[in-house]
């Protein structure tokens, strides 16, 4: 593991009300790679990824203890501006959730709210982001149609383009394909592999095959504990823990 570490999670504990969701999770995520967080439902993988851009702050009765260092800065520190943080660390959600606006406005929104109004500049970013999300050719003639008129897979790629437009360094994918058909899933997976040259990517998935296909590193979580973490090839071929092996062979999950 020679890569630069971009995110360090140290002793992360999280609670929903009295219920503990994450238990002492410690994890280093290298830059410019795809890391998969894998595990059966309820293992805390979604909670963990949502701790990285502090999305859980929106959930009432949610509590987080521990540290998340992004490029050495504690994300839960007092001076951290949560909106700046979320521009650095983008997110794509489980179900495609485009805004009920035009394709163009969906992608432009993140730039506009930074106070940028230069039309040409925004046009350029919209085009660049849609190209990176491999959607430009499909939508370039109907940028001003509603994003809701697109298919599920296209909607999810709009959401990816939207996240790319604010120039993040890290992109979090929270089960991005769980609402999509196999063809759309393949496209998204291909996209994720392309994007890793420029971004650090963290993918939550309960689909072991998907983790094997797209990721360089895999973390296996079970009931809030991080069971095992390492290069994907190693996890899938010689799992160290019995529970990982059982999960991979489909004994539970």
């Amino acid at each position: 593991m020679e890569q630069e570490i971009i995110i360090q999670i140290k002793d992360a504990n999280s609670f929903y009300g009295a219920k503990q969701i994450l238990k002492n999770v410690t994890l280093n995520i290298p830059a410019q790679t795809v890391t998969a967080l894998m595990g059966p439902s309820g293992c805390g993988k979604s909670t963990l990824i949502r701790c990285l851009n502090r999305m859980n702050d929106l959930v009432p009765r949610f509590r987080f203890e521990g540290n998340v260092l992004y490029k050495g800065i504690d994300l839960y520190g007092k001076d951290v501006d949560i909106t700046d943080l979320r521009r650095e660390i983008g997110m794509v959600f489980q179900k495609p959730n485009p805004f009920p606006k035009s394709i163009y406005e969906n992608v432009a929104y993140g730039i506009r709210i930074q106070g940028i109004a230069n039309r040409e500049f925004i046009d350029g970013i919209v085009e660049e982001s849609l190209k990176r999300a491999a959607l430009w050719d499909e939508v370039k003639d109907r940028l001003h149609e509603s994003a809701l008129s697109l298919s599920g897979g296209q909607q999810q790629r709009i959401c990816i383009a939207r996240a790319l437009a604010v120039k993040p360094h890290v992109i979090l994918f929270d089960e991005p394909c769980s609402a999509l058909d196999p063809i759309a899933t393949a496209k998204i997976e291909e996209l994720i592999t392309d994007l890793k040259n420029n971004y650090t990517i963290i993918v939550v998935t309960h689909n072991t095959a998907q983790a094997a296909r797209v990721s360089d590193f895999t973390a296996f979580l079970y009931l809030g504990d991080l069971i095992e973490y390492g290069p994907t090839a190693k996890i899938f071929t010689v799992p160290q823990d019995k529970r990982t092996e059982e999960y991979l062979t489909g004994k539970f999950g």
């Binding site: 501006d81 909106t83 700046d84 106070g115």
Partner: protein, 314 residues
């Protein structure tokens, strides 16, 4: 030199960004405060109502004893022999309310049951908004209708009916509050989980049994909330009774004769030329207080019941 200029512009950039963030934060905080102020206005409104009502009511009770107010059966503030017995106005209010509820509750509940358990989704989407139009018709229009259509119609069957009477005002008021009962009750019945119904259907029950033995009891607190709100609405309704029920305070339960409700009395004094600041004039505030206290309790009970119902099923 070049390095220095670079450092300088970097410094400026950081300063600018910090400043921009501060402006954004300030704006966010300001907007939140402003919105908070908007919602405080409703608290101020209640405070204003209580203050206006109480300040005049206290003055009134310096001249009139509370016992007389609550037990005297005559209300004659404008006569030389003054009596201030709220009972005669209250009885008028209760008679019209009773009639209205006797119309609105059975019709409203039957139609809620029908819409929730029998009607198709499509029918429900068409009929519900149509029914709500009944509540949107201005009350002065209902007053006209009660006085000039319903009363003459009823007189053909009830010869002794006066031109102004509690009966037709109450009946028309009942029609007006049907949607209040039916809409809220239907919401409550609709919220009852399908599983409860399916259990009964699986045992071979008919729709009517499911509706009345399963859904109705399960939705009871929501339905009660609707009925209480309807009572509150009927007690506070003004124009229909002011137009069609008469202006004669009378301690009676006879729906065929002219009576006067609390609300109609307030209208009567407002229209007259009673000088402000007199004991006679302050009676409208006393009546207002009576009205406010009664409706306040009904509204709060209804709110609590509705919330309890929502906590169970939503």
């Amino acid at each position: 030199m070049v390095g220095n200029r670079h450092a300088c512009s970097l410094y400026l950039l950081i300063w600018f960004m910090l400043k921009r963030n501060n402006i954004v934060k300030f704006k966010e905080a300001l907007i939140e405060r402003l919105l908070l102020c908007c919602s405080l206005l409703s608290v101020l409104t209640t405070a204003g109502i209580i203050w206006v009502l109480l300040s005049e009511t206290i003055g009134f009770f310096k001249h009139v004893s509370v016992i007389d107010f609550l037990t005297d059966t005559q209300w004659t503030p404008m006569f030389t022999n003054k009596h201030f017995g709220i009972l005669s106005l209250l009885s008028g209010t209760l008679v019209t309310t009773f009639i209205a509820i006797a119309v609105a509750v059975p019709l409203g509940l039957i139609s809620a049951t029908y819409l929730s358990e029998y009607a198709t989704d499509k029918m429900r989407h068409i009929i519900k908004p149509l029914l709500e139009i009944l509540a949107a018709v201005p009350t002065v229009v209902y007053g006209y209708f009660a006085l000039l259509f319903v009363t003459p119609l009823l007189r053909q069957f009830i010869p002794g009916l006066s031109g102004f009477n509690a009966l037709s005002a109450g009946l028309v008021m009942g029609i007006m509050i049907i949607p209040l009962v039916s809409s809220l009750s239907e919401d409550a019945m609709h919220a009852v989980p399908m599983g409860l119904r399916e259990g009964a259907y699986a045992l071979g029950s008919h729709k009517i049994q499911v509706a009345f033995k399963i859904v109705f009891p399960a939705a009871l607190s929501g339905i009660t909330a609707a009925v209480i709100l309807a009572v509150s609405r009927a007690i506070g309704e003004t124009m229909i009774v002011a137009i069609a029920a008469g202006q004669q305070p009378k301690f009676t339960v006879n729906p065929l004769v002219p009576i006067e409700t609390i609300t109609a009395y307030i209208v009567q004094i407002s229209l007259g030329d009673t000088p402000h600041g007199t004991l006679e004039y302050s009676t409208i505030f006393v009546c207002g207080t009576t009205l406010f206290v009664i409706t306040f309790f009904l509204n709060v009970i209804s709110f609590k019941l509705k919330r309890r119902f929502q906590e169970i099923y939503e």
